[in-house]
Symmetry: C2
């Protein structure tokens, strides 16, 4: 055949190769886990890799008492006992991996027998939640519904051919004692490639039960997780139910984190007096330790019965006035650069339907919170 | 004083009277419950009225085996055993009342020990949910979080002076064995006035676990309940988890209901074969029995992993094609008037985040479903 036909044929072959190649192409440098590190089921259906082999996104400190603790071992006795206990919950942690498996399972054990709360289902408190990266962004594909302390569940099957990038969120309100990811024995499993330059530092959220993820139906619907997917960045969740109180010790731990931004959403757990006492020094110390990194102060959500019950309304209005006061000080006499402020009136919408109990957002409320946070974060995060 | 001053004084007195009058003024004809029918607490804090004294909205048949059953006693052995069992759940029922109480409590007992499901919290499965009518419409103010089979809970306190109109939703996925409403002994309690002329007939929803309310965080967030509030009409919830299959016996029961509209949302529980077999005869019989009353056929929701997993996508596409076929028959050879159709692609949005498990909407999904239903219902409901 002549040169023209040869070139044409090559182009056609190339086009076919493109068509049949995996939908996502990863650099050859991705290091696949050695199957010798996996444990095979007796019947050979699954081989299991300890998730720790893949690394845990959203975990800041290596030196922890247990592998899925949110605070370092040295924090025990330094932070309050309540914060320490709650730091054992795996909120915000995720396994970020790549696999060509046709189906994916998980086997995980939680630390607490109470798999659910009366106002938050076991899927959110103790469950797993799996997302895949599609062209348009992260997309939910399956979750692990816990039935007892240790659960094995197929998260997805019938997965299209090729390698795909996944994010598997860990339980929000329970500790994760162990987690193994199961794939068919011929499938590969690898740590996901690092996120692109400029998107590797985490968004750090410090706050209350709301930040902690109460009451999402599944771990991926806590608002820090939603924002992590929208901005395609790692997230650190330092929400401590009932205990986001801006103690100096917590401020010092925040300073240790090399963050893209610090989001301080503690107001629902603080009195106006505590706000007046603690916000300014915590922000000043954080600014001194981390110059130039954006700090976002978030007002209290509007409790959903406040449109009718005055006490609910006053409860958040007084706190927000106290926070505005502190913000004024930080803009004025104690000038702090790169400081941002998110008012509470847009966080949950205006129809009163955003929570399960007036205080804790459902997935509807968390989606609305993410919508309110997104433009503010966008305004100061470098792309 | 001269006439001018007298008129002025009267006007001022009238203005003051207006200011201190209750925010909602009800006709004198509202019949308050006789306090002799109430049971007082030993400490005198609350007096308790059986909710049955107020009547149950969303309950069609008087002759039921138990007071909070959704189907009549005669349906036992006529509908399938599964439907019969599920008809014992109080989904969609609500107590519609007026009270000038400064605080409101409830004491309720459910029939099933399992207060929650792994993917739906106890607040939705077995809880109560309280709304008040404000100028702009119904507004959430409090809920009852069940802790055991029998629970007593304060639903709201610090209520502004005056009489207010309330809607108290019953548990979605549990039976209600008994329900008492508690108010302070000096407070009155009365059945709410009938809804305005033209808004008294109910919206009747027949369907699956989704219609039944799975997996709302609280009873008021099931999509039939949301639509009931938006259109300010009673709602009848005939959702039967896993069992909305359009049997002829269910069709006959539907015909007995004097409805504002029939919404048929059974497709997720039916195979394409069952759809081909049952939709046309059920709709024809309903039209013959109830001429002129709108009937809405609803397509299957899009399962949320369908953007990635082909099997999930095919599962709903095949059913929706079958329903389109039946709809075509009903528009053509078997012409049926006042028949409407709601496609499935708008029901849950397009981001894949609307459910807890790919199938069952969370409050986020139910809000989106209500948004998709609203314009369609508006198009055929007479105001």
């Amino acid at each position: 055949m002549n040169r023209y036909t040869a070139v044409q044929s090559l182009l056609i072959l190339f086009a076919i190769a493109l068509l049949i190649s995996p939908p996502v192409i990863f650099a050859e440098s991705i290091e696949k886990l050695d199957p010798n590190m996996a444990v095979a089921d007796p019947d050979g259906e699954w081989i299991w890799y300890d998730a720790l082999l893949l690394g845990i996104e959203g975990k800041v400190w290596g030196e922890t008492e247990k592998p899925y603790d949110r605070l370092p071992a040295k924090a025990e006795g330094v932070v309050t006992d309540s914060v320490w206990k709650l730091s054992k919950h795996s909120a915000g942690m995720a396994v970020h991996f790549v696999s060509d498996a046709e189906k994916i399972s998980a086997k995980w054990e939680v630390t607490n027998d109470n798999l659910a709360m009366p106002h938050m289902p076991a899927t959110g408190v103790s469950g797993l939640d799996l997302y895949v990266r599609l062209d348009k962004g992260w997309h939910w594909i399956g979750n692990g519904r816990p039935s007892q302390k240790e659960t094995q569940a197929v998260l997805a099957s019938g997965i299209p051919a090729g390698s795909h990038e996944y994010l598997l969120y860990l339980p929000l309100y329970n500790g994760t004692a162990s987690l193994a990811i199961g794939v068919p024995k011929e499938a590969s499993l690898a740590k996901a490639p690092a996120r692109p330059e400029g998107k590797q530092k985490p968004l750090v959220f410090y706050g209350t039960s709301i930040t902690h993820g109460g009451c999402a139906s599944r771990p991926g619907m806590a608002y820090p997780a939603i924002l992590g997917r929208r901005f395609d960045r790692p997230v650190v969740n330092l929400g401590f139910s009932g205990n986001g109180k801006m103690e100096a010790a917590m401020g010092e731990l925040l300073q240790e984190i090399d963050a893209a931004a610090y989001i301080l959403d503690c107001i629902p757990n603080m009195t106006p007096e505590l706000i007046a006492e603690r916000v300014v020094p915590l922000v000043k110390a954080l600014r001194a330790a981390r110059p130039g990194i954006p700090i976002l102060l978030v007002e209290n959500i509007q409790y959903q019965s406040g449109a009718f019950l005055e006490a609910s309304r006053i409860a958040y209005e007084e706190k927000n006035e106290a926070l505005q006061e502190s913000y004024g000080t930080l803009l004025g006499s104690e000038y702090i650069s790169d400081l941002y402020y998110l008012p509470g009136d847009t966080l949950l919408g205006s129809d009163g339907e955003a929570t399960v109990d007036g205080v804790h957002p459902t997935d509807l409320g968390f989606q609305r919170m993410a919508d309110a946070f997104e433009p503010v974060l966008k305004s100061f995060l470098s792309e």
